[in-house]
């Protein structure tokens, strides 16, 4: 390459000072980005991909420092640049999009004002015309009615809208390099698609370079020219997207590729070769009996709308001449009916706000329904108030695996104590030794090393915490387990292992699963039947293969199409991106 690359990172090593000595988060990383190029950095959590970008921006936290190597931005040495120069550079030449758009925006400042702040900071607009400019930028990121949205606060906008505002902030000063750190994690697939297309289109139009940091190999392959795969602080593979995706060279990349759920593979295929569990030898319990375990009929959950209750609402009603045009309640779940048979797993799929979590918590009997019936094994559990249900023996037959393994474990309980909790409250076992023995048995069942049982959650990895959560859920041998996105917070390779574990447990213990997820690819692997929900209603229901390969509802087709999966066999990457981009 004859021309100077825009960003040239050589031999970068970043160290963190911790209580247990120095930790090298990034080691000898080389990275070059040419002008106009889009580079994806892919890796699992702890691979050092975010730290690398923070080092480039020089926004490492206090314990971290660049120990070795050089960071050149065109001709400027970023490693040794003065803080003043860096501050001027950030936002103007290099800008960043963060993972959580809502956290990246100031919650008490109008979004338009926040864009103005950036413009004024870098003297990109005169104070007299700054408002016009901000509105113009909002328009560029395709925010409808930008003049109105200028006055909106971040909490009034949806997640996707907030991310557009963050993109607007990042691009306001026409930087040369954009670093996008997991820009679409936490967004729905359809929103992810529009946001990614927006980023690609805007950066392309301005000839900007982009670093896309992601854990999703498919997403990176679809939108990037080049992919850098990182593992444990080192770059293990760097090649054009097509090469990485179609013919990965490094074993770690192969493992990642394998673990990513995609059409046409089975659950076992996700695991690395040779590590497949003894799935074939497990004697499956007879699942022939098709007796329905859970029957939900015309279930409805309504929430009062803001400002229609209490004193303020009453005052509003009194002062208003006409009755309010909108109904006073919001229907989160709008009359849905479905059933789950014994030994069956049913997927409940939809985007955020579709009511899938409300449905599962109602079935779980943590919140009360507004109307409808929930029959569990012939008994109308919907009629029992949630408060009473917690203390009934029925409680032990319905358990749940939570979405965030960290959040769902009491930080002050050891793993053993967490697993023992349901046994202590609802189980028949008495005596310390018996309970301890049961905990160890459960730990072995979920593949958690027994010596980890005495650790606190923060001393466990994400995968280990997930196993603790699963062990707790199956401790009482429940009939129905509700899985609320149990792998959403996990890395793909860990997800592959956990999904296999769940399948194995189901086969050996004969439980039924209600699997709540937004990820159709994951649902496909684990479920016999799928229910697609949208806005509180069931859009489509049927056998997994039928729904995923020949979907009837347009919405299901949209969901499927939004899953990033580059098709290198038919069209070259650039063409595919152009097609989706414009």
């Amino acid at each position: 390459m004859t021309e100077i690359p825009l960003l040239d990172v050589r031999d970068l090593t970043v160290e963190f000072q911790t209580r247990r000595g120095i930790v090298k988060a990034v080691q000898h990383v080389d990275l070059t980005i040419a002008k106009g190029e889009t580079v994806g950095i892919v890796g699992e959590s702890g691979s050092g991909k975010s730290v690398t970008s923070y080092a480039v921006m020089r926004i490492l936290d206090r314990a971290g420092r660049i120990a070795d190597g050089s960071v050149m931005f065109t001709n400027l040495d970023l490693r040794n640049a003065a803080e003043d120069a860096m501050r001027d550079l950030r936002g103007r030449e290099i800008s960043m999009i963060f993972q959580n758009p809502r956290a990246a925006l100031n919650p008490i400042r109008k979004v338009g004002r926040q864009i103005e702040d950036v413009l004024l900071q870098h003297v990109k607009a005169a104070p007299s015309e700054v408002t016009e400019k901000a509105v113009e930028i909002l328009e560029q990121v395709r925010i409808a009615r930008p003049r109105e949205r200028y006055h909106a606060y971040p909490f009034e906008l949806s997640g996707g809208m907030c991310q557009r505002v963050v993109i607007a902030l990042a691009l306001a000063c026409q930087p040369q390099l954009l670093i996008a750190d997991e820009p679409t994690t936490g967004l729905d697939v359809t929103t992810q698609k529009t946001v990614m297309e927006l980023i690609v289109e805007l950066t392309r139009a301005r000839g900007m370079s982009t670093i896309l940091i992601t854990h999703d190999l498919g997403l990176a392959a679809l939108y990037c020219d080049k992919i850098v795969v990182m593992e444990k602080g080192r770059v293990v593979e760097a090649a054009p997207s097509r090469a990485v995706f179609t013919a990965p060279e490094h074993p770690y990349t192969k493992k990642l590729m394998r673990a990513t759920p995609r059409p046409g593979v089975s659950l076992r295929d996700l695991l690395p070769e040779g590590e497949a569990p003894t799935g074939a030898t497990i004697a499956k319990l007879p699942t022939a009996e098709k007796a329905p375990l859970l029957v939900v009929e015309k279930l409805i959950k309504e929430y009062p709308r803001k400002g229609t209750q209490g004193l303020a609402g009453t005052l509003k009603k009194l002062t208003q001449q006409k009755p309010a045009p909108e109904p006073e309640v919001f229907r989160a779940v709008d009359g849905i009916s479905f059933s789950v048979n014994r030994g069956e797993s049913v997927g409940l799929v939809g985007e955020s706000g579709c009511g899938k979590s409300t449905t599962s918590t109602m079935v779980m009997r943590l919140i009360d329904k507004t109307d409808g019936t929930i029959l569990f094994d012939g008994e109308d559990i919907g009629a029992i108030p949630a408060k009473k249900f917690a203390l009934l023996p029925l409680r032990r037959r319905i358990q749940m695996v939570f979405q965030d393994p960290t959040d769902s474990l009491n930080p002050r309980f050891t793993a053993a104590r967490a697993i023992a909790d349901p046994i202590l409250r609802l189980g028949d076992l008495k005596g310390r030794d018996a309970i301890r023995a049961r905990c160890e048995e459960l730990a072995r069942q979920v593949g958690l090393p027994v010596e980890l049982l005495d650790r606190f959650p923060h001393q466990l990895s994400g995968g280990q915490k997930a196993r603790v959560g699963i062990a707790r859920a199956i401790a009482l041998k429940p009939d129905l387990v509700i899985l609320d996105e149990p792998t959403a917070a996990l890395d793909v390779s860990v997800q592959a292992v956990v999904l296999n574990l769940l399948q194995e447990l189901k086969d050996t213990l004969g439980m039924s699963y209600l699997f709540v997820s937004h990820d159709l690819n994951v649902v496909r692997l684990l479920c016999d039947r799928v229910i697609v929900m949208r806005a509180g209603k069931i859009v489509e229901e049927g056998a997994t293969d039928r729904v995923l390969f020949s979907p009837e509802a347009a919405y299901t087709r949209d969901l499927l199409a939004a899953i990033p999966h580059p098709n290198f066999d038919k069209v070259p990457a650039a063409a595919a991106r152009m097609a989706t981009g414009s």
Binding site: L391, S408, R425, S461, G462
Partner: protein, 295 residues
């Protein structure tokens, strides 16, 4: 990001013993180490002070009244010839007991009312919060004066008065912390495991807000000592001739003008050191009870 590698080999199992953790907390931060040292000194005075002091704190010796600090009387003597050093050391126990019992009382009352308010919300919350607001509406020291004056001049009533004026602080901290955790995953999981509300409050939420409550406890310990001394200073509370820092400062205050500064200075300095110690102790105590610091 760097510490959550799923595939990394398990590091050396971290020691979960409280002793090694305490050693780490004390040695990691100089200020914390100093505060714990000072606390040990105060606790020692309270425990064995009355048995080791050179003079009887109540014995007056008019022939040796108003003597300046010397080798015989380290902190000097007062109007009645009592040894001030002995009195300051002996007073530690009483002040310490008043502070400790009032803080224990308010921790139980305010802490429990607070987490109940935060966890249940609704009427419980309204009732507890308005009660706290009502107490806050009074000038707190005047309120304490009123309570002691109305209930009578005893140590028990000082403890009760001090606990009542600290009540709103505990309620607010506990309420806010419990409110945040009310909808967290682990509370929901606890409910699924068949825990009733009482167990969730005491077994799941309370341990999690202990770190922040420890800071509160340590801060109010200092405040409680000041308050008890203040009440005694104005003549409500502990009665003379019982050695107590507040009374001693009050007794010595009139003598400052005539040049006998030591009578008020030494009990005052003891008071200041005790309050200072408790204020510094907060962060250390928090680290001590927080398992997340034990990585």
């Amino acid at each position: 990001m760097t510490d959550t590698t799923a595939t990394a080999p398990a590091p050396k199992p971290p020691s979960n013993s409280i002793l090694s953790h305490a050693r780490y907390v004390v040695s990691e931060n100089l200020v914390t180490g100093f505060a714990f040292g000072l606390f040990a000194l105060i606790a020692l005075c309270a425990l064995i002070g009355p048995y080791v002091v050179p003079y009887d704190p109540l014995a007056s010796d008019t022939s040796a009244s108003l003597q300046a600090p010397s080798l015989r009387h380290w902190f000097g003597t007062d109007q009645l010839g009592r040894d001030i050093f002995s009195r300051v050391v002996v007073a530690t126990r009483l002040d310490f007991i008043i502070a400790l019992s009032s803080v224990a009382l308010v921790f139980v009352m305010g802490g429990f009312a607070g987490i109940a308010a935060g966890y249940f919300g609704g009427w419980t919350d309204r009732l507890v919060s308005r009660l706290a607001d009502t107490i806050m509406a009074f000038p707190l020291f005047v309120l304490a004066m009123g309570i002691v004056a109305a209930l009578g001049n005893t140590v028990t009533n000082i403890v009760i008065a001090t606990a009542i004026i600290n009540f709103p602080l505990y309620v607010r901290v506990a309420r806010a912390e419990a409110n945040v955790r009310r909808d967290s995953g682990f509370v929901m999981a606890a409910r699924l495991s068949g825990n009733d509300d009482f167990r969730i409050l005491l077994g799941h939420i309370l341990p999690n807000i202990m770190p922040i409550m420890m800071v509160q406890i340590s801060l109010t310990m200092g405040y409680a000592i000041l308050n008890a001394a203040g009440l005694s200073f104005i003549g409500l509370g502990v009665k003379p001739p019982t050695p107590e820092w507040g009374i001693m400062v009050a007794e010595g205050a009139t003598n400052i003008i005539s040049g006998e500064w030591w009578i008020a200075l030494f009990p005052g300095a003891a008071l200041m050191l005790a309050v200072f110690c408790f204020n510094l102790l907060g962060d250390g105590l928090r680290d001590l009870v927080d398992p997340q610091r034990r990585t």
